[in-house]
């Protein structure tokens, strides 16, 4: 032992650093491993590309103005998705109005005001975590039961659908807002409070403005999830033949995902093309929303 140490100190290492073998990172094992890692991502990407190409090929021929202006019909040649597009806008708009204020307020309570040792606040935290993973269709069951309780006969109404989707995405908005609020450095809060600002003034004038990009990103992603969601609306009976434009909170409606589901289930090939064409609209909207969210995140991400 002593001997070899002396040798190496003397400049004669017992083992040469150049082993003659390939460098450790370039040996077959690690290389195959790296290839497998890339492959796992590649499979996902190829799948996504295939899906998009397939949808575009299938629905491209039906993707045109008529799709946006026509009402559903019993013949695929004359059918369009106009009420579904308008219905989606109504439901998502209502959902946004219902859920963003509540979600942001809940997140502000949890991050800025709540004593985290209090049972009530711990219960809320646990509930939010759990609700985020409750299957969407359960929210449909909830909305259905709630509307039944109120004695609403025709449950396929805009406000009902928006209620189900709001509860569905509320945890997402709460979690995203909490993260955005947490990213605001505590020095900013201290600075404001030390001047004699109240906690709410500090929240309203410092914390929330600084969190807006994060809240916007989270809300857009949550709303895009609601926009693509069909299961809860199915339970309210949204799979009906809607041949009119929705015009209010109590108006009957259908949405794009429901319309796609409807057309997918028809036997005629023409309806499948329509389903694909409507999917192009939906995918386009979602890509747009996701892109916007990513843009906001990258553009306004504050480096404190």
């Amino acid at each position: 032992m002593m001997r070899s140490l002396q040798d190496s100190l003397a400049g004669a290492p017992t083992m040469p650093l150049k082993t003659g073998e390939a460098p450790r990172e370039r040996r077959p094992g690690p290389l195959i491993f790296l290839v497998l890692l890339w492959l796992s991502l590649l499979i996902a990407v190829v799948f996504l590309v295939t899906l998009i190409v397939n949808i575009v090929l299938e629905g491209g021929s039906r993707f045109g103005l008529a799709l946006f202006t026509e009402y559903p019909a019993s013949s695929p040649d004359r059918a369009g998705a106009r009420p579904a597009i308008l219905g989606s806008m109504w439901v998502i708009g209502t959902t946004a109005v219902l859920t963003i204020p509540v979600g942001v307020a809940a997140a502000v309570h949890l991050e800025e005001f709540a004593d985290k040792r209090h049972w009530f606040n711990r219960a809320i935290e646990l509930n939010v975590q759990n609700l985020a993973a409750v299957p969407s269709i359960v929210y449909g069951l909830l909305a259905l039961a709630f509307l039944s309780l109120l004695g609403v006969r025709d449950k396929n109404i805009v406000i009902g659908g928006a209620l189900a989707l709001s509860l569905l995405i509320l945890p997402v908005i709460i979690i995203a807002t909490r993260e955005a609020i947490r990213a605001v450095p505590s020095e900013i809060r201290d600075g404001s409070l030390a001047l004699g600002a109240t906690k709410w003034q500090t929240t309203w004038r410092q914390v929330l403005p600084a969190s807006v990009p994060g809240i916007a990103t989270g809300s857009i992603i949550a709303l895009s999830r609601a926009l693509g969601e069909a299961a809860p609306l199915l339970l309210l009976g949204a799979l009906v033949f809607v041949s009119f434009d929705p015009n209010g909170l109590l108006s009957g409606f259908t949405t794009l995902p429901i319309q796609i589901f409807n057309w997918t289930g028809r036997p005629q090939e023409g309806f499948h093309e329509l389903a694909a064409a409507a999917s192009i609209i939906l995918l386009g909207l979602l890509l747009l929303m996701n892109g916007l969210a990513i843009y906001i995140r990258n553009r306004y991400q504050k480096r404190w």
Partner: protein
């Protein structure tokens, strides 16, 4: 001007810097038998101190000795930490700031604070200064004048007067810290607490802040926590030396006040061996 219970006879008043007597003659704040707890953990114990008008008091000591904790309890910033609790009395003009019915918001407005890391708001320079007066509902004849006055007092006006609408985050570290001082004085506090205000600044910026503190002393009571003994010796009229006492059973570190006196006395004639060891660099 009427005299309060706190004010001392005329002939004993500390007049200007350098003329500090052995006793605080015009205390603005008085800390009496204060313990600070975080939950069950006692961070600081049995502190008795006085902070006099137109004086700078430095709190020095090794890290973990509780001096920042004490500072943050002087304007109830500790309230914001779950489980933080103060026992004993901290009197501000004779009134216990932890007394029943006292509004901590009002306490913080009257006892300002400057932090270790400059923390300007991500707003314009102007809005940084105007923020405090706005949120506290101060009636201000001219906000422009108030902003100018505050910046002038913080020796920053000449550097920023042409870019008041620009973001405060564009200023240098030293400028940001002077902005934070200007912000603190914009709400007209009586006392300014400074928590290692130069810790993140270079020597030149540090010097400017120290000069500024000397000027501010003419109008305010200043308490500064510092790691830098030379800084304490340069700026402070009085110095309080803290150290951490390690509990034998649990190993918990609790801050204690070792010695308090005029800066000259603490540095030249420390009465306690621990102070002497720290001052002479044998410990810390």
């Amino acid at each position: 001007m009427s005299s309060s219970a706190d004010s001392a006879p005329m002939h004993l008043r500390a007049t200007q810097s350098g003329a500090v007597g052995p006793v605080v003659t015009r205390p603005v704040m008085r800390v009496e038998g204060v313990d600070v707890y975080y939950g069950d953990f006692r961070a600081v114990t049995d502190v008795n101190l006085e902070f006099g008008l137109n004086e700078i008091t430095a709190l020095i000591g090794p890290s973990g000795c509780g001096k920042s904790t004490l500072l943050r309890s002087l304007n109830r910033m500790n309230d914001l930490i779950d489980g933080a609790r103060v026992e004993g009395e901290i009197l501000f003009h004779g009134e216990n700031i932890y007394g029943k019915g006292v509004d901590p918001i009002e306490v913080r407005r009257r006892i300002g604070m400057v932090f270790q890391k400059p923390n300007p708001f991500p707003k314009s320079i102007y809005d940084n200064i105007a923020y405090g007066p706005r949120v506290t509902g101060m009636r201000v004849d001219s906000m422009d004048d108030l902003v100018e006055e505050s910046l002038t007092r913080a020796a920053l006006w000449d550097e920023v007067k042409d870019k008041l609408k620009q973001s405060a985050l564009g200023l240098s570290g030293g400028q940001q810290q002077r902005l934070c001082i200007a912000r603190a004085i914009s709400v007209r506090p009586d006392v300014i607490l400074m928590d290692e205000p130069c810790a993140s600044l270079d020597p030149i910026a540090t010097m400017r802040i120290e000069d500024l503190m000397q000027e501010l002393r003419e109008q305010y009571t200043i308490v500064i926590v510092t790691h830098n003994m030379q800084q304490a010796a340069r700026v402070a009229d009085r110095t309080a030396f803290f150290t951490a006492q390690v509990s034998e059973g649990t190993g918990a570190r609790t801050g204690v006040l070792v010695e308090y006196g005029t800066t000259a006395q603490i540095f030249e004639d420390p009465q306690d061996q621990r102070t002497e060891d720290y001052i002479s660099g044998r410990f810390g």
